[in-house]
Symmetry: C2
Subunit: 121 residues, 2 copies
């Protein structure tokens, strides 16, 4: 039962490796079998499989086996979670800007009122 935060953990963790990012790139061009995916990498198959499993656990890919071949597919929808997190961050920055604007506006108002008081108008 993963919550939002630990899903993000897994997502970013999965992306923090060049092999796995390369696999995602490859899968962006279309589904592929494990050994097709593994071929470009100078790595023992069991090592490569670990990357695939991590990617699957993070939700970035789906896999299914037919006969002796396991086919991997990109789960494009999962990328929305990243966009979403980025938006959240930006929203925080904007909120701060809003607050700054409010401060500035409040100060302007104060100064205007003060001037009214001083000039009697």
């Amino acid at each position: 039962m993963e919550n939002y935060s630990s899903e993000l953990d897994g997502l970013f963790q999965a992306l923090a490796d060049p092999t796995r990012r390369a696999v995602l790139g490859r899968l962006g061009q279309g589904s592929a079998s494990i050994s097709d995916l593994a071929e470009p990498f100078d790595m023992a198959l069991p090592s490569f499989m670990k990357h695939v499993r991590l990617l699957e656990e993070s939700g970035l890919i789906r896999t299914q086996k037919q006969g002796r071949v396991r086919t991997c597919t990109l789960e494009k929808a999962r990328f929305a979670m990243l966009e979403n997190w980025l938006s959240e961050q930006r929203a925080i920055w904007e909120a701060r800007t809003d607050r700054l604007e409010q401060l500035v506006l409040a100060k302007q108002e104060f100064l205007r009122d003060q001037q009214k008081r001083e000039t009697g108008r």
Copy 2:
């Protein structure tokens, strides 16, 4: 001398931890000192410092010390690198769609030509 890929490694690695993401959120509201940042977390200061250092190494924050206080600032520009990577991925997907379209178009053309041959026109 970090290259693009290892910078991404560091970036995603830095984001793959809830404490660090929370710090980024906090810094989105404005700069803060180490101890201000550390206050919400039930963690020894040296442990917390490691997170800060990782964030700084990833380029997501900048820090500077005045007197005994170190102030941390969000490096918003760094987030563009994420957007950029996401765009790259999307571009790959789109390229694939283009190729599919070309296949479909090629097939249509083939069928049209074939029909011409069969009908003699």
